[in-house]
């Protein structure tokens, strides 16, 4: 029983981070109708920038969020303005391949600069844990989960309460009607891409606390992001949170009761099942 509770608790904590990591992908798809394969690049850049700041200046990963958020926004908005924007009227697969190219460039640049070795980042609290009743919860996971939830609240308030949020929602719901109501759609696209990338990079900062830093980081978590976003309903902020937590729990249950090696199989299975069910829905 205690085992099960521990597994569930740990799954929930990881799941909130999954949701935070994935949300940018859903936001960009919702507003631009573009599948951002460069999401993997921004996740990886996030962990590398955080690791590098820690290794060079001893900066705490949580503090480095103050850098990865604006940096991610600037990089994302630039990618949209300089690259994605040019392919506005091309078929979706063109943009998909373009952004895949961006990811490959980033990944290989990281191999070139830092090599392929796994690195990890250790802080004073990395191995700490907290006893809650019979459960033992990892401190980094608690912190990261709390930051993710906070990020979700900020994002939800931004979408609901600010003019930028209103513009993002209008463009996501009907681009043409938004433009005809005076919404500067071009700028909204750049902002959406910027926010989505800022979320991905800062997710990298958070995740550097308990995942190893390698140029392949993005590959693994891009797939999980897809899984969460497809399961949660692309642009549905609440749905994505629930889907992230669901995936976190499913993975931890599998790792604990079946085998750790099967952990990453879960997201493949869930993604496949979700796509098959969606297909059945639309038939």
């Amino acid at each position: 029983m205690v085992d099960l509770l521990s597994v569930l608790a740990s799954g929930i904590l990881v799941g909130t981070v999954y949701a935070y990591m994935a949300y940018g992908l859903g936001l960009i798809y919702g507003v631009l109708r573009v599948v951002n394969l460069a999401h993997g690049a921004f996740l990886t850049l996030g962990v590398y920038v955080t690791w590098w700041l820690n290794a060079t200046f001893g900066m705490d990963p949580l503090v480095s969020i103050l850098i990865t958020v604006p940096l991610g926004f600037a990089l994302g908005a630039t990618v949209e303005r300089t690259l994605v924007f040019r392919l506005r009227d091309s078929p979706p697969v063109t943009t998909l391949l373009l952004l895949f190219g961006v990811w490959l460039i980033v990944r290989n640049a990281l191999y070139l600069i830092f090599g392929g070795a796994d690195r990890s980042l250790l802080t004073s609290y990395s191995l700490e844990s907290l006893a809650v009743g019979p459960l033992t919860l990892s401190i980094p996971r608690l912190i990261v989960s709390a930051f993710s939830l906070l990020g979700f609240v900020v994002l939800a308030l931004m979408l609901k309460r600010t003019w930028s949020g209103l513009a993002l929602r209008a463009v996501a719901q009907d681009r043409e009607a938004a433009a005809l109501s005076g919404v500067p759609v071009n700028r909204v696209w750049a902002v959406a891409f910027g926010i989505g990338s800022a979320l991905a990079m800062s997710a990298g900062s958070l995740m550097s606390l308990f995942y190893s830093v390698t140029p392949e980081f993005g590959a693994r978590f891009l797939l999980k992001s897809f899984c969460v976003v497809v399961l949660g309903g692309l642009t549905n902020i609440g749905g994505i949170l629930v889907a992230g937590i669901g995936l976190g729990i499913a993975e931890d249950l599998t790792a604990f009761y079946i085998h750790t090696g099967y952990r990453d199989v879960v997201s493949f299975l869930v993604l496949t099942a979700a796509l098959v069910m969606r297909r059945a829905d639309s038939d």
Binding site: R169, D174, A179, L180, S181, G182
Partner: protein, 248 residues
């Protein structure tokens, strides 16, 4: 180009051409909306009315010709810039922001439309919700509105951008006679507040009742321009349009 003077043209289309592949949807069209005017735009299906609206509002670029708003060329501008210069439109089939409340979708137009110093977006939105009689549904989710309400909401969203010119596309279609009268009443109020209107409509009663002049299109070209009385007597119009749809 000089600025607008009283009685000057609000909207001018000069020699506008739009082709889709081999089909010429609008052919060397000249059209003028004068200050203070309601211009009816009629013609059989496929005459090019909606295409013309798409050209005026910047959704399509013309293949040749010019479009001017208060003397300023707008045919090369994106839709949101044209909206901010003071031209708004409604849709034949309303295109509401389905996941918003009625008030929020009006707020989109109020915040991002034409800037008028000294007015706040929420005041403007409130005023447009009231004008279109949507107060009871103010906080209702848009997807729960019926067709008549969605049409009024579309009108409210367009009005919230504080247009100088409003393009109205078949706002009476699909409504019952009471709703048509109510809608025509709203358009009169809009006109009285100083907005020029181009009104595309198949419901003849509504468009003939409210228009100062009527511009008749067929196959993308002008076949008649005149007062409602004049165009309904015009043989070319009767031939192209009214003759086919008028009852016994």
């Amino acid at each position: 180009m000089s600025g607008p003077a009283p009685g000057s043209a609000l909207v001018e289309a000069r020699g506008v051409v739009k082709r889709f592949g081999g089909l010429t949807a609008v052919h060397r069209l000249d059209l003028t909306l004068w200050e203070g005017e309601i211009l009816g735009l009629i013609g059989p299906n496929g005459a090019g009315k909606t295409t013309l609206f798409n050209l005026l509002s910047g959704q399509f670029a013309p293949d040749s010709g010019k479009i001017l708003l208060e003397g300023r060329e707008i045919h090369h501008l994106p839709s949101h810039r044209i909206c901010r210069l003071g031209l708004a439109r409604t849709f034949q089939v309303p295109r509401p922001f389905l996941a918003m409340t009625a008030f929020e979708s009006v707020l989109v137009g109020a915040q991002f439309g034409r800037r008028v110093p000294g007015t706040s977006a929420s005041d403007t939105a409130e005023r447009c919700v009231a004008l279109t009689r949507l107060e009871p549904r103010r906080n209702a989710p848009v997807h729960s509105l019926n067709l008549a309400e969605r049409k009024r909401l579309d009108l409210a969203r367009a009005l919230a951008t504080r247009p100088r010119v409003l393009l109205v596309d078949e706002v009476a279609a699909g409504l019952n006679p009471t709703e048509v009268r109510e809608t025509v009443g709203i358009l009169r109020e809009v006109h009285a507040s100083g907005v020029g209107i181009i009104y595309v409509e198949h419901v003849m009663e509504a468009v003939m009742d409210i228009s100062h002049r009527v511009h008749v299109l067929d196959h993308g070209a002008t076949i008649a321009i005149g007062t409602p009385g004049e165009v309904t007597r015009d043989p070319a119009v009767i031939e192209a349009y009214l003759g086919r749809s008028a009852g016994p």
